[in-house]
Symmetry: C2
Subunit: 361 residues, 2 copies
């Protein structure tokens, strides 16, 4: 990231040197911030220190900011202990759920005026300090969740942390954060798992017909069950109504499928499909802007360098891609590249690519 | 596609000049096959002729092969009429469901010894002759569904057709085809729609936190409801058990979410997540081979030419990509490119890219 000066001032203490904690340490250390590390596991701590995420904590530390990066089921207890142990410090956590820890801290009479929750929307399929990267948070939203008892200056400290790590700060109260991730993250995780589970007993000939649709709808079903059980349990009350509504709609679908010739059955299926159209249209495009794009489909030979040549030529034409998707071609040496571009450049790009000999589908 | 000689011999009659029928006509015409076109809509037919998909049908036609490319709800009737009208021809259809039309033909006493069903696994979000492309089927599976009464030579005729259009022929009986698409295509479509529908009432702040997981799980929810109502209705009996099983698992999830501290609740959630792991592992990789790949995540500046430069360098290194994904970066000028490569080249590629100055996450 080069010699950039940090917005974060003072010492930062990171408690929990797994994927997130170690990544935070690596990012801050690269900006010459003084980072001290702690973990219940001496070997995990030693690994994070070896990776250069900071130095081991000592009794003489005087952190200005404590970042608690421990599993969801112990986060409130660790935050409370840190608030007591470092009475001058602001304490934050990075757990995937925010309302539960806050309520637990308030119930325990913790010094919540120095606590402010946060949640970097970043992760990897692998965990632990070995998987950590200083760049983990680059370009990702980092939710900062002020509460009634927190001071505005604390949110500014957290925003500085997020910006130092390349993330985009988003302020959102704890309950609204938890409502949001229930619908955009937790429910999709469970639905992908439920759908992918249908493939366990499918014959090979069936999965051989799998297209991009099946791959996309089930990709996140490969996530770590142990971590997700904790996340889902901690936000269960907010996921429940989302999936209950889905179940009600699913029941209508099942009824329609049981007798598709019955009065109203076609309408019931059409309603679900149309609602899906409306829902997916609400997902913003690149950079958080609700950008409409036009998709061009280009057919390329499946050998090294073909996609590079395509993208080089698109770059020469000065066109920026909003999205790109490489589609598999079961059994055939053909690649299908879907390019999403701004509508106003799509026509010209298609003509230019055809002129250059590309096959547009 | 260049001056390649067709495997298909004799005249081909295409009935229904929508997206699929017109695309078949365009592909065959480019190979100098004699294609005659028919459609209940004179204006749709005229459009397909204008696009170069073939010439209008006349009473003097003597097709060797008739391809019926009409909506699912009328396909059996049209196939029966064609079998009667052209007693020397092999008749196929391209509908997304295969068992229903065959049963209807047999029940009607049609000359099914000359009928063989097929299903090219290709489509676009737009329909009609204007959306048609000669390349539509390139690299896609084309299911050919022989039945007890069909003659082996007919499957060879259909395979020639599929190969002429660049598709990969896959032989599968009608009932097994319909079972397969129920689980790999129809159930995922409905599940994506049901999940996307949850976003309709989500606040903007929630959808702004959307990541690639939500985008992937809901992408196909943008499909055309009118077409899908027909497909789902025609295969309802085979989709029903898939989604009923999903509903049973969903009920277990809902029970666990309602009281995550109850005995067995954590286990219930873990079981669903682990089953998702097992299911997604059954999806074959590129080219229908169950290829294990290693993913490298590269951070690139979000400006024209960066991804092209990356892929050019990967091409220079002689590495073939198994998959590529460009991830959105809400609010930040950073692109995240996920490269899937064969495990044996991943380590060397990562080292080479770092040497060349790329940031690997």
């Amino acid at each position: 990231m080069g010699p950039v000066s940090a917005r974060t001032t003072g010492q930062v203490r990171v408690v929990g040197t797994g994927l997130l904690g170690t990544s935070i340490g690596l990012g801050l250390t690269s900006l010459d911030v003084d980072v001290v590390l702690d973990d219940v596991s001496p070997s995990t701590l030693a690994l994070a220190v070896d990776y250069g995420a900071g130095r081991p904590a000592t009794d003489d530390d005087a952190p200005a900011l404590v970042v608690v990066a421990v599993p969801p089921d112990v986060v409130a207890g660790v935050v409370a202990a840190e608030l007591t142990r470092h009475p001058q410090a602001i304490v934050t956590d990075v757990a995937s759920v925010k309302a539960g820890p806050l309520a637990a801290l308030e119930a325990a009479g913790a010094a919540t005026e120095r606590y402010i929750g946060s949640h970097p929307m970043a992760g990897r399929e692998r965990g632990g300090p070995i998987a950590a990267r200083a760049d983990l948070f680059l370009g990702r939203p980092w939710v900062i969740a002020p509460h009634a008892g927190s001071v505005p200056e604390q949110a500014a400290v957290l925003e500085a942390l997020a910006l130092d790590l390349g993330a985009t700060p988003v302020r959102l109260p704890a309950d609204r954060h938890d409502d949001a991730v229930a619908v955009v993250s937790h429910a999709p995780q469970l639905v992908a798992s439920l759908l992918a589970a249908r493939l366990i007993d499918a014959p090979d000939r069936a999965t051989e017909l799998a297209g991009q649709g099946l791959r996309d709808t089930t990709r996140i079903a490969a996530s770590d069950p142990a971590l997700w059980v904790q996340i889902l349990s901690a936000n269960a009350a907010r996921i429940l109504p989302v999936l209950s509504d889905l179940r009600d709609d699913l029941d209508a679908v099942l009824e329609a499928l049981a007798d598709p010739a019955a009065r109203g059955a076609q309408r019931a299926l059409a309603d679900v499909l149309a609602a899906g159209n409306d829902g997916v249209a609400r997902i913003p495009g690149k950079h958080g802007v609700d950008l409409k794009t036009t998709t061009l489909t280009v057919l390329v030979d499946d050998r090294p360098g073909q996609i590079a040549r395509l993208l080089t030529e698109i770059g020469e034409l000065g066109v920026n891609l909003e999205d790109l998707r490489l589609e598999h071609s079961p059994g055939a040496p053909i690649g299908i590249v879907e390019l999403a571009v701004a509508p106003e450049v799509a026509g010209g790009l298609e003509a230019d690519l055809v002129t250059r000999g590309w096959r547009i589908a």
